[in-house]
């Protein structure tokens, strides 16, 4: 009886150890470098906005865990705008990556990046009318967007898509917090 128990523990431990070593090895082989990750983000960004010459912006000490990249670029008219690549926690399949485009302190475009949400669910909140709730508002004055809240910073969620909506809202709020702190600095 005791011998069986010891054998079970030894075998399971050995299998787990070998698995751990194998996974560590594969992680070393497949881990993305910082440059590769940034190139991938820019590639995705290029699919949603016409990039001209995106330049990394000095963060001036502003920091937010949710904001992974911060770029400056110009539009067709030569006007400067900012791109914030953010991640919002709380989604059904984990964090949702968002591209937040800001011009004159106002969000003028939102697009989704990597995520593991159910596509049909995410589509319900990635439409023009839903995202319009975030657009064209002075984000340095608004503080944060509040899901199902009233007033200018209130965003109406969609029934049955609340988790994806929460992740999107958190991602936008990360951009708002970061941008506001950056402007103040």
């Amino acid at each position: 009886m005791k011998k069986d128990m010891v054998k079970s523990v030894v075998v399971l431990t050995a299998i787990a150890l070998v698995s751990g070593v194998l996974l560590g090895l594969f992680h070393q082989l497949t881990a993305l470098t910082a440059d590769e990750e940034e190139a991938r983000v820019l590639e995705k960004l290029a699919e949603v906005v016409e990039l001209r010459d995106p330049q990394k912006v000095d963060r001036r000490g502003a920091d937010d865990e949710g904001v992974s990249y911060f770029y400056r670029d110009t539009d067709a008219a030569g006007e400067e705008y900012y791109i914030l690549v953010t991640e919002g926690e709380g989604g059904y399949g984990g964090p949702v990556e968002m591209f937040v485009l800001v011009q004159d302190d106002r969000i003028f475009r939102l697009a989704v990046g990597s995520n593991a949400e159910t596509p049909s669910k995410l589509e319900q909140i990635l439409n023009e009318s839903y995202l319009a709730q975030y657009l064209d508002k002075d984000i340095t004055a608004i503080g944060e967007f509040v899901l199902n809240g009233g007033g200018e910073n209130g965003v109406d969620a969609v029934v049955s898509v609340t988790r994806s909506a929460t992740a999107v809202n958190n991602a936008v709020n990360a951009a708002v917090r970061f941008y506001t702190a950056w402007k103040e600095a």
């Binding site: 079970s8 299998i15 698995s19 992680h27």
Partner: protein
């Protein structure tokens, strides 16, 4: 039962007679979820084939070492290891596919096909036969996903593997086939068709067998009556 199977029988079982999707009805959740396009189907299928092949190999090789009491956690650790390897490789080299398949790559861990083959075949058969079982079950799964994904992609988008001309001149695009409900509809119709064909084949084989038996009886009677007359 499976111990006496030959390689040919294993191949036939995996691809046709015990096809995991249409005959055993295993792995239905990823089948319905990822078959929105043929490319998604082939990717998911090949990822599952990789996991099936290697998990069957390891489980079969360790079948005399793994104690019966802890076989389930051992199988899960082995299967999860290969799924994580597939996930890491896809994330590095096929990021678009990785994004497209999403959480369903991780969910291969709990795919009934893999666990069923580990428990019912690999734990009771030699290594080579278990590898063959993993390979052909995986290919059968892949073929089924490509069939479903292809049909759904053609009907909902007018393309096949993202290629091809716009087919909307011949028939209107039916977006419903790209949605979950279209998945159920296609799955049900294809399974009904396959079952119908299999039933017809079985009936034909039985009729042939009955005819052969009848002919043998007649031949025997003729021989008996010939002997009496003689």
């Amino acid at each position: 039962m499976a111990k006496k199977m030959s390689l040919k029988q294993v191949a036939k079982a995996g691809l046709l007679s015990e096809n995991p999707v249409f005959r055993l009805v295993l792995g239905t959740c990823p089948t319905l979820a990822v078959t929105t396009s043929a490319l998604n189907g082939v990717s998911m299928g090949l990822a599952t084939t990789f996991v099936l092949f290697f998990s069957n190999l390891i489980i079969s090789a360790l079948k005399h070492v793994i104690p019966d009491k802890v076989r389930i956690p051992c199988y899960i650790v082995i299967i999860a290891t290969f799924v994580t390897i597939v996930e890491m490789v896809m994330q590095k080299f096929l990021p678009d596919l990785y994004d497209s398949l999403g959480v369903f790559i991780s969910l291969i861990v709990v795919n009934c096909i893999i666990f069923a083959r580990a428990e019912s075949f690999a734990s009771a058969n030699p290594v080579l036969l278990s590898m063959a079982d993993g390979l052909f079950m995986g290919l059968g799964f892949t073929g089924s996903l490509v069939l479903l994904g292809g049909i759904r992609e053609i009907l909902s988008n007018g393309t096949f593997f993202g290629l091809g001309a716009d087919l909307s001149a011949w028939f209107p695009k039916m977006e419903v086939f790209g949605l979950t409900v279209g998945g159920f509809l296609t799955f049900g119709l294809v399974m009904a068709l396959i079952n119908h064909l299999a039933d017809r084949r079985t009936k034909k084989a039985e009729a042939r067998k009955a005819e052969a038996q009848k002919a043998e009886v007649q031949k025997a009677e003729a021989a008996r009556s010939g002997a009496k007359e003689g």
